[in-house]
Amino acid sequence: MIASLVVTLDCAVAGSSGVAKQIAQIPGVQLCEGESFSHRIPILIDSTDPDSLEETTRRLQSIVGVAFVDVVFVHFEDEPCDNVVAPIGKTTGQ
């Protein structure tokens, strides 16, 4: 799965390189090269493990100075959606 996100920083840290460096250290995350952004940082996630999206988002959200994480683009590979939640005819939850 390939996804791009925009990370919005708190006003107090906007423009500082510290948070960007922390973001860049998350495995599978790439920062946009050669451009400077003030309070919003565009990033790319390229991963064969679809779970890494949620994990990466959680890690981004836990960085001090990150105010919000939004999704911009996502491209699915041929990943099977194999969750079967409630087989027909079978009583669940009772």
């Binding site: 946009c32 790319l44 105010a67 919000f68």
Partner: protein, 809 residues
């Protein structure tokens, strides 16, 4: 040269291209640049076809670009051209395409055969439904939702009220925003917000009343956070019963007890008057006062004077409000000072916290009332705005009127003139529409789960696009009896159209496989009066078919059996569609359903209703071009123009020149809105010695509502696999509980076993417990209360008394 390396090169190049496109899209948004989507359209090598659609999930109504390749959705991008989301999506947007491809999609009609099901043909399924309806049309009910598209809801509405003379049609939206509707009606005489999302870009203060937009409407919240990150001063205030992710971003958190909001609203009004900081000019010009009429309870109450209003508020001093609500008096004063400052622009947001409330109508009117009393209304950034949880709670439920008392366009079945207007548009014989409201949701299901011999007058329910077996309150009374062989309900028949097996299909007698989202044409209406359109992009799997087709096919089957109601006054089929040459298109045959655009035909007919309450919609073609338009949409110099701020001169075309503000549907017929007094009243159930904790239920970021789509997505399911009970650490320690321990939770209505989460994502105060409702294997609604608001008939899912005990392994 071998073929393989070429292919690998091609794959690598394509992958690099997708990555570059993805990064370019994010960089453009981060940098504030604009670019034209579709992102990949100028690269034919990718073979991806991009089209617009609103997101399938919440009522925010973000627009996405959907990338389709070889008949499959392969990519999603936020739509930069959409005003709602400006290119952004929340994390559910990662998976909105994947929601189509769960392995257990329903693909064949299934008929119950003992404990299992057998596949049947669509023809047989349609015949079975027609048999049930024909045998007892008055015992038939249709249960839908705010996930019905506008044409789907309109077809169901016309079929029931214009065809069967049967008003037993109601949506699950009754469970989520009915109190917002009655709040708007009681205040302005007409439903739906005056403001819009633009207020979020202009307000100085944003107050969230029992609302958690950081998780439930993330793109809207991100819009405000972005402003703050750019250095703008925006004060965020969270008034809630539990700390959430929203709280973390707020400067002020006011933790209240259940129903504390009623006291807080009165406390603010009390101080505005006492301090002389209310907006006397606004009030004198545009408002009247109302109070409940206890002798004759009704939605419009009785008129009172300003002096009477002031007297009724006298006891709501900050100190008394503190006692009732748990919010310190100093914070009540802070709120009153903010509202008393007319230089500030204040927007209020709310959703389930104020609506799922046995005094939901009251608190809705009271929050409108504070804005009116303080003059924080009608200019950008000054708005009381309710949000919806479903993509078309506004468009389909509130505007098409798929409620048991309503007709399209804000008309009601109890009004003879309204019925005549609808009969005229539908061209059905006079008197066809029944004047008696049908059963609202709770009554409908109670009646279905009551034996016929004991007065249960609903025999068949057809459910489309919703999951009542999980989302109704007090399931052991309102749903589960259907599965109990000793309940005396053998003659009851449950039909469920859905895309996946759910808690509802497990008790269904007949299951119909439905198409979803971009597998069909659609139109929806979001929380800010914005009507949106999309075209079918991929085929549904197997024999899954559009819900709208299912309704029309049953209607046609009844027509062929001579059921008079399926004909209009000219003897033609209710859903007759003609082609350009005047020939009838047999849209009841699936093979011909897409020979024409049925959505367009239905929408153009429905559009005639929208002018009655000045909620004018533009022709279908305008929505094809736009990323949604906010009604009223009126033609001006050959252009269709949307409306940002209703009732405000210069924005709303229906406000007369020189009026400044005009509430032109005022219930007092004098262009005035009503400022209501309602007393504080305790919740319907409060903790006591036997059930000492207050249960609140709600949603989580990862799952959309009952989780029937999002639990199919492995990544979301792994991220939030099971429901849990959030407890305060002190309560946990007094019960000897630590994280992950199992507890038995019981209410007077049901029980379940569940794991505890202490200091988790949400932090409930002492004496309360929170459980999300997304998990089909842990049905918290077995425990919730089915007490309803007297006017909206909406139940309260936020306050039920429970007890817990540790389960020892």
């Amino acid at each position: 040269m071998s073929r393989k390396p070429d292919t690998q090169d091609g794959v690598v190049q394509r992958r690099e291209f997708i990555k570059a496109s993805a990064m370019a899209a994010a960089a453009a948004i981060a940098g504030g640049a604009s670019f034209a989507l579709p992102i990949l359209a100028d690269e034919p090598a990718t073979g991806v076809d991009w089209q617009k659609a609103p997101c399938r999930f919440c009522g925010t109504g973000c627009h996405v670009q959907v990338g389709v390749q070889q008949g499959k959705v392969v990519a999603i991008a936020g739509d930069r051209n959409a005003d709602v989301n400006k290119g952004l999506l929340c994390v559910k947007g990662y998976h909105v395409g994947a929601a189509l491809y769960g392995k257990d999609r329903l693909t064949k009609p299934l008929l119950r055969d003992g404990d299992s099901y057998r596949e049947i043909s669509w023809q047989e399924a349609i015949r079975i439904i027609a048999d049930r309806i024909q045998a007892a049309p008055e015992r038939f009910a249709f249960y839908g939702s705010g996930q019905w598209t506008i044409p789907e809801g309109y077809a169901a509405q016309k079929f029931m009220k214009g065809g069967l003379s049967n008003n037993h049609i109601d949506p699950n939206a009754r469970l989520c925003m009915a109190s917002a509707v009655t709040g708007f009606l009681a205040t302005y005489g007409v439903d739906e917000p005056a403001g819009c999302y633009d207020d979020l870009d202009a307000c100085d203060v944003l107050i969230m009343w029992g609302n958690n937009p950081a998780e439930m409407h993330p793109v809207l919240f991100s819009r405000v956070i972005d402003r703050r990150s750019r250095g703008e001063k925006v004060t965020l205030i969270d008034i809630g019963t539990r700390r959430t992710r929203t709280t973390e971003a707020c400067q002020h958190y006011l933790e209240m007890k259940g129903h504390g909001d009623l006291a807080i609203a009165n406390g603010i009004a009390h101080l505005l008057i006492k301090n002389g900081t209310y907006d006397q000019k606004f009030v004198d010009s545009f408002c009247s006062f109302k109070a409940p009429d206890d002798a004759n309870p009704n939605l419009h109450g009785k008129v009172i004077s300003f002096a009477e209003y002031k007297t009724l508020l006298e006891t709501y001093t900050p100190e008394h409000v503190e006692q009732l609500s748990g919010v310190p008096a100093s914070q009540i004063r802070m709120l009153a000072d903010l509202f008393g400052n007319r230089k500030l622009r204040i927007t209020s947001l709310w959703c389930m916290g104020m609506n799922q409330h046995t005094r939901g109508t009251a608190i809705n009117t009271m929050v409108h009332g504070i804005h009116l009393l303080s003059g924080h209304f009608g200019t950008p950034g000054n708005a009381p705005t309710s949000l919806t949880g479903q993509p078309s709670a506004c468009g389909t439920v509130r505007e098409v009127g798929t409620l048991s008392h309503a007709l399209p366009g804000g008309l009601v079945v109890t009004d003879a003139e309204n019925r005549t207007k609808a009969e005229e548009i539908w061209q059905v014989p006079p008197g066809r529409i029944n004047s008696v409201p049908g059963h609202h949701t709770v009554k409908m299901w109670e009646s279905f789960c009551t034996p016929t011999s004991e007065g249960g007058d609903i025999g068949t329910i057809w459910v489309q696009v919703t999951n009542p077996g999980q989302t109704l309150p007090n399931l052991n009374k309102l749903f589960n009896p259907k599965g109990d062989s000793k309940a005396g309900l053998e003659d009851k028949f449950l039909i469920v159209s859905d895309v996946y097996p759910t808690a509802t299909t497990r008790l269904a007698d007949l299951i119909l496989p439905s198409a979803m989202w971009v597998e069909k044409n659609g139109m929806v209406g979001n929380s800010e009066r914005r009507t949106q359109q999309w075209f079918k992009m991929v085929n549904p799997p197997g024999e899954a078919r559009d819900d709208c087709w299912q309704t029309i096919a049953v209607a046609h089957e009844l027509l062929t059996r001579g059921v008079e109601g399926m004909k209009d006054r000219n003897g033609q089929f209710l859903f007759e569609v003609k082609d350009a040459d005047g020939g009838v298109v047999p849209i009841w045959e699936w093979e011909h359903y897409y020979d024409t655009n049925v959505d367009k035909h239905l929408f153009e007919e429905y559009r005639k209703f929208t002018r009655f309450k000045h909620k004018d919609l533009a022709p279908y073609g305008e929505y094809v071009k736009a990323r949604g338009l906010r009604w009223p949409v009126v033609e001006h110099n050959g252009e269709w123009k949307e409306t940002q701020f209703r009732f405000s001169e210069g924005s709303d075309p229906y406000v007369a020149a020189g009026k400044e503000i005009q509430f032109y549907h005022s219930s007092t017929h004098d262009d005035r809105a009503q400022i209501w007094f309602h007393p504080w009243i305790a919740p319907a159930e409060v903790p006591d010695a036997e059930f000492p904790l207050m249960l609140c239920t709600g949603r989580v970021l990862e799952h959309w509502h009952s989780g029937s789509m999002t639990r199919r997505i492995p990544e979301l399911s792994r991220a939030m696999p099971r429901a849990y009970a959030e407890l305060h650490p002190d309560d946990a320690s007094s019960y000897g509980l630590k994280n992950g321990d199992r507890i038995r939770m019981e209410s007077r209505r049901g029980s379940l076993e569940i794991s505890v989460w202490i200091d988790g994502r949400g932090k409930p105060p002492k004496g309360t417990v929170f459980v999300p409702f997304f998990d089909e294997t842990l049905l918290i609604n077995d425990l919730t209360l089915d007490a309803v608001d007297p006017f909206s008939k909406q139940p309260d899912y936020k306050k039920a008394a429970v007890r817990i005990s540790k389960v020892h392994a």
